[in-house]
């Protein structure tokens, strides 16, 4: 029996899956009128009951987040969808929006109604022009159909949806930096409190949710919270998109109940590329501590991954086989964090600057064993000392890789360079 539970991805293989007609043909835009006929608080309760947790990485209960919005405060409320998917390895929201943008639009309608927001925003990263175009078209079609704008679905409610295209900054995926960017400022994280639920966009109560979290809502409304509860594990309910990339035979998005293991997903994906073995992998993108083959049976839910010492994060499963130099991989990630550090706080801004230099020396065989201690100590001075989680994330792969592959680092030092042939880790290496 297949472990897959395609809901969001059920119709991705249909050629016109991204169109409003296809979406409706497959039962779309039925949940929104249903939700709009309910009391908004009942919609919030429904989402609470479903056990849906934020799919952006932190896993905060979505319904509870909606419930934080003060009601009857005579203020504008806003819904903001975080589509600034930028983490190395994370590739779930973009394929989802490419293939099925209307499920997000419908989710937005329901969520905006629930939190009494008349205006919703989708903040999408600037590089994904093609996705943004599809989403724009979907929004335009939804307006045309009367699902957005004035008097949506003839219910008397007004909901406007604006697509905002970012300028390409990883930090803008941090929700408060996203809000600053959306307001037209430089994207840098804000001091909390106040939290966005109290003073978010334009200092008004704001819910910021990940694309996948909002997209899960129409199905929950259609099928009921019990249906959603029936999937997943005790504290991590429902199904989610796992993105498999790297040295696997059949990479892609796999929608499965929370708690599935990498071993099971790898089976579905045809395994690690032929003739090779799994060396290490990330459970939730580049900012989550590395796992190895030892962790193949860790249940991939919030609690399971956490108990094993990492984080479920965005469920971006990057697979690396034994041809990969871990020092090289970690250096590349660290270069990313250095490039993307917003500069606001000292530990992340300055720390990543030096981490890269030390890692470069190590990879080139110019490092010393003492550099490993220096790296670990610098990471200790960054983790939990920086302003937002970006700094923390920058240290994860370094500390975990030194823990798991210390000998490999030492081999770079003693051997005066990298013992690996980088060409062998490329996908075209086999073709030669």
């Amino acid at each position: 029996m297949s472990k897959l539970t395609p809901v969001l991805s059920a119709h991705w293989d249909e050629k016109d899956s991204f169109t409003i007609d296809a979406y409706k043909r497959n039962g779309g835009y039925a949940a929104a009128p249903k939700a709009l006929a309910m009391d908004p608080d009942a919609v919030i309760q429904l989402v609470k009951d479903s056990g849906l947790r934020g799919r952006g990485g932190a896993g905060f209960p979505t319904g509870m987040k909606w419930g934080f919005i003060p009601q009857g405060d005579n203020k504008e409320h806003y819904l903001v969808v975080n589509a600034d998917e930028s983490e190395p390895g994370t590739c779930k929201d973009m394929p989802l929006l490419m293939a099925n943008p209307h499920v997000l639009v419908e989710g937005v309608i329901i969520a905006a109604y629930a939190i009494r927001a008349k205006n919703a925003f989708i903040y999408i990263r600037g590089e994904v022009t093609h996705v943004a175009r599809r989403l724009n078209k979907a929004i335009a079609d939804a307006y045309k159909a009367g699902y957005l704008g004035k008097n949506v679905f003839g219910t008397g409610h007004d909901i406007d949806l604006v697509l905002h295209i970012g300028a390409g900054a990883y930090i803008c995926g941090e929700e408060t930096a996203l809000l600053d960017s959306l307001e037209g400022f430089r994207g840098q994280p804000r001091l909390r409190p106040p939290f966005p639920a109290i003073a978010g966009l334009y200092a008004r109560p704001t819910v910021v949710n990940n694309v996948e979290s909002i997209s899960a809502v129409p199905a929950i409304v259609n099928n009921g919270p019990e249906w959603y509860q029936s999937m997943g594990t005790e504290k991590s309910k429902g199904a989610t998109l796992y993105s498999l990339s790297g040295h696997v035979n059949n990479p892609g998005q796999f929608e499965a109940p929370l708690g599935i293991t990498l071993r099971e997903i790898l089976e579905l994906a045809g395994g690690v590329r032929n003739g090779h073995q799994l060396k290490f992998w990330t459970p939730g993108g580049s900012s989550t501590p590395l796992f190895t083959a030892e962790h193949l049976d860790v249940p991939l839910d919030y609690e399971g991954v956490s108990a094993a010492g990492s984080m479920l994060g965005t469920k971006a499963l990057q697979i690396f086989d034994e041809t990969t130099c871990v020092v090289r991989a970690v250096l590349r990630w660290t270069e990313f964090y250095k490039h993307e550090s917003c500069g606001k706080c000292t530990p992340c801004r300055e720390g990543t600057w030096w981490l890269v230099q030390i890692l470069r020396d190590l990879e080139a065989g110019k490092g010393t064993e003492a550099d490993l201690q220096k790296l670990l100590d610098l990471c200790d001075n960054i983790l939990g000392r920086s302003f937002c989680a970006l700094g923390d994330g920058a240290t994860s792969s370094i500390t975990s890789s030194i823990k798991l592959f210390r000998d490999e680092y030492i081999a770079h030092v003693t051997g005066g360079g990298c013992p690996f042939d980088p060409a062998k880790s490329t996908l075209f290496a086999e073709a030669k």
Binding site: A169, I171, R186, L191, K338, H339, E340, S341, C342, G343, K344, C345, T346, P347, R349, E350, G351, T352, W353, W354, Q357, I358, D361, K374, D377, L378, D380, N381, I382, G384, R385, S386, F387
Partner: protein, 786 residues
């Protein structure tokens, strides 16, 4: 704050490093620790700026109700809470390591140029690296480098590689000055402070960013590489540039003032000052500074003389003559007292006026009746006001710290500000002020129509004297509403001169000349038989009288003829009279004077100014060994030479006398309201002139400050859109403003101004209204395309 409000503040007790401290709710942990004497290192934190938590230097361990935060918290962003236990670097190894780790990272990319850095020796980074850092760095790779330095304005330089990106400067400019001309650009370690490409950091308050920069990233062009902090001798001082009354610090090396900094006074300037106060001090050492007495010889040429010769010549010219005193608003309270006493005893006259500017009889009565001897409006009243009405007062240009206080209240609590004015302004925009737009001369009627409450404050500028009945209207509004009324002159010495009795109708302490009891009071204190009883002449009347041969001589101190109307006539009549001039530098008056007596500049003497509140701002001599003497010492010597001693040998003697005179509790000079005037009718190309002085202009005390001058606002003539259409010009085109006296040609700025009006700067380069047009406000001029 009333007692009731004080008791309402909830107090919270927290434990920091094992010591209990009780602080008001909302206090930040870093501040609570300070109360215990526990210094947590910090860079981005500043008590007057909103917390940002960017530098992460102040990390401490925090536990609330027995639950510890999993990671160290920035103590500059967390307010105290009940049952909070804080462990700083002193008691928590985790906090200590976190702080040392952050310090190592801050130093990693910081250049080792302390030996040539202006900040070296007074640098928070240097100091805290010693107190809270590791002795050695493990970071041996490549440091970030930048081209250095870059000018972000003509007076502020930026060394980007020194910057620790604490954002104090950008937050100050945004939050305090509302001049968001600098911002952080780029990201990561290459993040840097920057300006918009073609818009330099021309804020009137930019110098504060240099002062609060915790490293040497921002430096002042005038001070850069001039001194090491430990070679400077610092003296607390007061600012002589306006009536705001900033507390200052003057730093001197080898007898030369090298820089001035804003001092701390929470009740007045908090920790800020304006760029003029900070950077305009070279006039003291300018090349035309006077150092020797001058006496006009038989050939009519001014020649250097000894002090005894000069004093004898002055005494001979004044003794037994009908003489008057003109003393400008630039002298200290003690010096003004010297002039006041000198006029009454040595010259036997009440012909003395400190108003070296456009003034009116209405104003004279108002000052004597409603301002002198009253000290009942303060900065704190702005903090408590429900509404502030600005009348003939442009705070950013004419009293910048009053502007900062207004802005603080606007930003923190949305203070309502209304301005009755002829032209909109940048400050009004920043304060989102209600702009009651009037034609020049119509102000009084507009003021009468404003509704205020007993919690409101009216700030009346000195230019109110230029619009007939305006002062009376403001007085009536204050009486009707119960609002407080404050008079804010522009110059630092005006209020002190008023209290010293340097006014034709007033003796020291607000005592009316016309009141015999008041005269007896002062005569007894001064040890003379009697004082002249006839009220004297005002500035304008003194000039008239000199011209009509009703007066023979005049003693002039700190006045420039170009401060007055009809400056050419002033100089003409003075040429035919006997003039004794007390001045620090050559001026239009010294050039026609018969005796010139050089006096000390502010940094060379002690004394005090009374700011607009009437608050004394005392200062000591910053330059200890100056040979120059205060005005009153010279007046005292002159009085001795004339045989009628005033016994004011020292500044402290004058201060003691002023204190002993005490308050006057008798009747005050009565105030007779004046009917409201109105603007003259303008038709065709005629317009009604209005003008005020900019903060940075051709003021004589800004002489020699080229860097400062580089940040002046542009000299423009402002007209309304409809006039622009009728004149046929748009912004940037040239217009000519003229009357029968002369003309001024300026680029035009089309802005929010009354259709009948044209505004020009009063004393800027290319636009000196008084000398060119002999007009400043409410007079008709012609505006045509040039």
């Amino acid at each position: 704050m009333t007692t009731q409000e004080v008791t309402q503040v909830e107090m919270i007790t927290v434990v920091i490093d094992g010591f209990e401290v009780t602080v008001p709710k909302g206090t930040l942990v870093i501040r609570a620790a300070e109360k215990l004497g526990i210094q947590i290192p910090r860079f981005c934190d500043h008590p007057l700026l909103d917390p940002v938590g960017a530098c992460r230097q102040c990390l401490v361990d925090v536990e609330i109700n027995g639950r510890a935060f999993p990671k160290p918290q920035a103590s500059c962003t967390i307010p105290v809470e009940p049952n909070m236990i804080v462990k700083t670097q002193l008691t928590s190894p985790v906090a200590d390591k976190a702080q040392k780790g952050v310090m190592e990272l801050l130093l990693g990319n910081h250049p080792l140029d302390c030996p040539v850095c202006d900040k070296g020796g007074e640098c928070p980074l240097q100091n805290q690296a010693m107190s809270n850092g590791n002795a050695e760095s493990r970071l041996t790779g490549y440091k970030r480098t930048f081209e250095k330095p870059i000018n972000i304005s003509s007076q502020v330089l930026l060394d980007r590689e020194r910057c620790v990106l604490c954002a104090r400067c950008t937050r100050f400019s945004n939050q305090i000055a509302s001049d968001p001309f600098i911002t952080l650009n780029h990201r990561g370690a290459l993040q840097q402070v920057g300006i918009y490409e073609n818009d330099p950091f021309n804020s009137y308050f930019s110098g504060n960013t240099v002062q609060i920069c915790p490293v040497g990233a921002l430096t002042g062009a005038s001070y850069r590489f001039r001194a090491r902090p430990f070679d400077l001798v610092s003296t607390p001082s007061a600012c002589e540039h306006c009536a705001s009354g900033c507390d200052m610090r003057t730093d001197v090396r080898r007898g030369k003032t090298l820089r001035r900094l804003a001092g701390d006074d929470a009740a007045v300037n908090e920790e800020w000052n304006c760029d003029k106060g900070r950077w305009a001090f070279k006039y003291v050492t300018s090349t035309n500074r006077l150092s020797q007495p001058l006496v006009r010889n038989a050939e009519g040429v001014l020649v250097e003389a000894s002090w005894p010769e000069a004093l004898a010549a002055a005494a001979a010219g004044l003794k037994g003559k009908r003489a008057a005193v003109l003393t400008g608003g630039r002298v200290t309270a003690e010096d003004a007292y010297g002039y006041s006493k000198f006029a009454r005893i040595a010259l036997g006259t009440n012909d003395i006026d400190f108003r070296a500017r456009v003034s009116s009889a209405e104003e004279g009565e108002f000052l004597a009746a409603k301002v002198a001897g009253k000290f009942d409006v303060h900065y704190s009243d702005i903090d408590a006001a429900d509404h502030v009405l600005l009348v003939a007062f442009e705070p950013e240009e004419e009293s910048p710290i009053v502007f900062l206080r207004l802005n603080k209240n606007f930003k923190k609590r949305g203070l309502k500000v209304t301005s009755v004015a002829t032209k909109g302004s940048i400050a009004m925009d920043k304060l989102k002020a209600d702009f009651i737009k009037v034609a020049p001369g119509d102000e009084a009627a507009a003021v009468a129509g404003v509704s205020l409450t007993a919690k409101s404050v009216i700030l009346l500028g000195e230019r109110a004297s230029e619009s007939l009945g305006l002062i009376s209207a403001a007085v009536a509004l204050a009486e009707k509403s119960g609002a407080k009324l404050a008079w804010i002159p522009r110059r630092a010495g005006e209020r002190g001169a008023l209290e010293a009795g340097a006014l034709p109708t007033l003796l020291p302490g607000g005592r009316p000349v016309a009141d015999s009891a008041a005269r007896v009071d002062i005569a007894a204190a001064w040890g003379v038989d009697s004082l002249p009883s006839t009220p004297g002449r005002s500035t304008h009347q003194i000039i008239e009288a000199l011209g009509n041969d009703e007066l023979d001589a005049v003693v002039v101190g700190g006045v420039d003829a170009y401060d007055l109307r009809n400056s050419r006539k002033v100089l003409d009549v003075m040429k035919s009279a006997f003039v004794v001039s007390l001045e620090i530098a050559e001026s239009s008056i010294t050039s026609i004077a018969d005796v010139v007596l050089p006096v000390a500049a502010v940094t060379e003497k002690s004394g005090s100014f009374l700011n607009w509140e009437g608050r004394a701002r005392a200062f000591d001599a910053a330059v200890a060994d100056s040979l120059n003497r205060s005005d009153l010492r010279i007046l005292s010597a002159l009085a001795d030479a004339m045989g009628s001693s005033i016994s004011l040998g020292t500044v402290s003697a004058a201060a003691r006398e002023i204190a002993e005179l005490g308050k006057w509790d008798g009747a005050r000079v009565p105030f007779t309201p004046v009917a409201a005037g109105s603007a003259p009718a303008a038709s065709g190309s005629q317009a009604v002139l209005t003008s005020w002085r900019r903060l940075l202009d051709m003021g004589v005390m800004q002489r020699g400050e080229d860097n400062l001058a580089g940040t002046r606002r542009q000299t423009v003539a402002v007209i309304s859109p409809s006039r622009a259409t009728s004149v046929g010009v748009s912004t940037g085109d040239q217009v000519r403003i003229s009357n029968e006296i002369g003309s001024i040609t300026l680029p035009v700025l089309v802005e929010d101004i009354h259709d009948d009006a044209v505004w020009i700067p009063r004393n800027s380069f290319g636009s000196q209204a008084l000398t060119a047009l002999n007009a400043v406000h409410g007079e008709l001029v012609t505006v045509v395309k040039a």
